[in-house]
């Protein structure tokens, strides 16, 4: 194979062109998914003081869990703390938009919900927010997926996804695992 220098350069340039096309395609697909399909990472840039979040405001204990707001929006608020989620079990309706809001008073935590694409870090100082629609009913796992101390492995919550007809808010709009 006696490639001349010119041939070597030409073949490298052809390959570089193919690589460029590949990169442009990846970039285009990501852009399309972001703009047309709204596949964006959770980034709501909302700050909260980890030292006081359990004392005042949205993340005090009575506000935690799932609640149907005045406007019909379903919001689930969860505190992630060493080494448990509060509450450790939440109920959400299937086939309806749900907003998960999480905050941490201590360490970095993170969650995923098994069988779904729900995934976010929970960083002290910030409220993490994920909008999602649960498509299948059942009992899902919501583990802490970021190292938060020696008890990290036992930090595991449950998400009960129930059909719309079984999702029955009380007078204040709350739905809890105990009431189910």
């Amino acid at each position: 194979m006696a490639a001349t220098e010119h041939e070597v350069v030409r073949s490298e340039l052809r390959w570089a062109a193919a690589v460029s096309v590949f990169v442009v395609i990846i970039f285009g697909l990501t852009l399309f998914a972001a703009l047309a399909l709204h596949r964006n990472p959770p980034s709501n840039l909302e700050r909260i003081d980890p030292k006081t979040l359990h004392l005042t405001g949205e993340f005090t204990e009575p506000n935690l869990g799932t609640r149907v707001e005045q406007n019909g929006q379903v919001t689930t608020r969860i505190v992630a703390t060493q080494f448990a989620f509060i509450p450790p079990c939440v109920v959400v309706p299937a086939d309806r938009e749900v907003t998960l809001r999480l905050a941490s008073p201590d360490m970095i935590h993170g969650i995923l919900v098994s069988g779904t694409n729900v995934n976010t870090m929970v960083v002290p100082g910030y409220v993490s927010q994920v909008h999602t629609v649960f498509r299948t009913t059942g009992n899902l796992l919501m583990p802490c997926h970021e190292f938060c101390g020696l008890g990290h492995s036992q930090m595991l919550a449950r998400v009960h996804v129930v059909p719309a007809q079984d999702f029955r808010p009380d007078a204040e709009g709350r739905v809890s695992c105990e009431a189910q």
Partner: protein, 546 residues
Amino acid sequence: MKHNRNLVLAHLWLAFAVFAIAAVFGVWLMWVRSPLHAPYENPQNYFRSVTLHGVSMAYVLTTFFAMGFGYFVAETALGRDIPGIRWAWAAFVAGAIGAVMAALTVLAGDASVLYTFYPPLTASPLFYIGLVLVVGGSWVWCTIMIVAMTQWKRANPGLAVPLAMFATVANAIMWLWTTVGVAAELLFQVIPAALGWTDTVDVGMSRTLFSWTLHAIVYFWLLPAYIAFYTMAPEAAGGRLYSDTMGRLTFVLFLLYSLPVGLHHLFMDPEHSTGFKFVQTALTALVTVPTLLTVFTITASFEVAGRLNGGTGLFGWLRALPWRQPMVLATGLAFFMLWFGGGGGLINMSYGMNAMIHNTSWVTAHFHLIFGGTVVIMYFAIAYQIWPQLTGRVADADDLAQQRWQLWLWAVGMMVMTLPWHWLGLEGQWRRVAHFDYDDPLIAWWASWVDLSLLGGVILLISASLFIVNLARLHARQPAGRAGPQPLRYAVPLHPITRLPAALNGFALWNVLVLVLMAAAYGWPVGQFIAQPSPAAIVHHVDRPS
């Protein structure tokens, strides 16, 4: 290699001894997570071991290997003595003391914060100071590499710096840029907290500074493997390097694009806007370019070798390659693993798809395959290649056979371990936990996959042990006669360099571009916390009883 064998040997033996110990811990970790009952199983031991495994493999093995190999390249490729040899030894001693300090602190249970730290968790200050000593030692190495190249250029005006050295200096410069993030995090945030000087920490800032380091560090580990691809593999295959210029361009692109991309480790974080996440996704896509250029150039170099050996036809040259050479075999296996590891990486870096796999076993699988697989198998091959130069002993046919066995076991073990991890990760198996409840019907089916991956881990441990045996056996043998081993020759390009733009013979221009890219990619993501600090989180000392 005449003058500084002991310096290189000291670095490599330290790196490989730590690697072997960390491999034992790695298998034990998998055993604990599996359905089988492991001895000494409890959360304290588990997270101590994760920290030790991560710190050893990611910081100690890699840094000492890169340094030792860099000294070797500087002396052999430039054909002159290494400048500042006393500084080099001082850096080695400081780094070794630091590594031992960090390891003892971890074993004492005072530093179970994993190798990625996670403030507001804070370990004993001795842990961080130990790591700062390792990094400080590596900065001395970077300086020596830059000085060696500068002196050579002054003595050889107008000549092209040998590719192996050019690439080594690219890595040294990249490493200086890379460590800025973690150094700032440790010196301004974590160490003051660990010492008790501060009670709170800005977690948004610390995560962002660590992300600055977190991706480029991977390329610091990777580039020694790429140096072997370009400058050793084509020669071992009996061929020529297809294009020297493309090699230089590749290393320059790594310097540029490995740095402004770290935010892709924080896609799931709430403290950064989608805008900057998207910008860094786009920049991350560009990191595929130098990798794909390398795949082409090295495959073409191998084709040249195969055809020189009499291979014909579209693929006949593949069979004509000397696969009995450990360097050639390792390159083939490394490329095989690179396709899987790189493919998985495309999903990790995708702004939208990252949510499927973030903090699942998929990610663990990805970096074990691409670092533990592609990169570390090349560390083995490099060690086998340069051991005769370092020890004055020549490998015989038996040695080579045993080296090939070791490489094959490593590649097979890595695939058996990481393919189940990929699959489990896609199914949502989360990271960094000491045990799973396999009685839970939702995850009961994971058990057999986890057992299979453990089998892969056992194969890897056998391979790691065989590697140490291979090196020790050769080192302990009677030295070869007065002739000694053949001097190592770096690959010759197919067409000698006649003209080389100054930009591809130095780094001044590229440093300016790195600065511009980093200012664009990280200026605001870091600056936002200076403008408005995150609400402070309270420091939690893992080394003090609460």
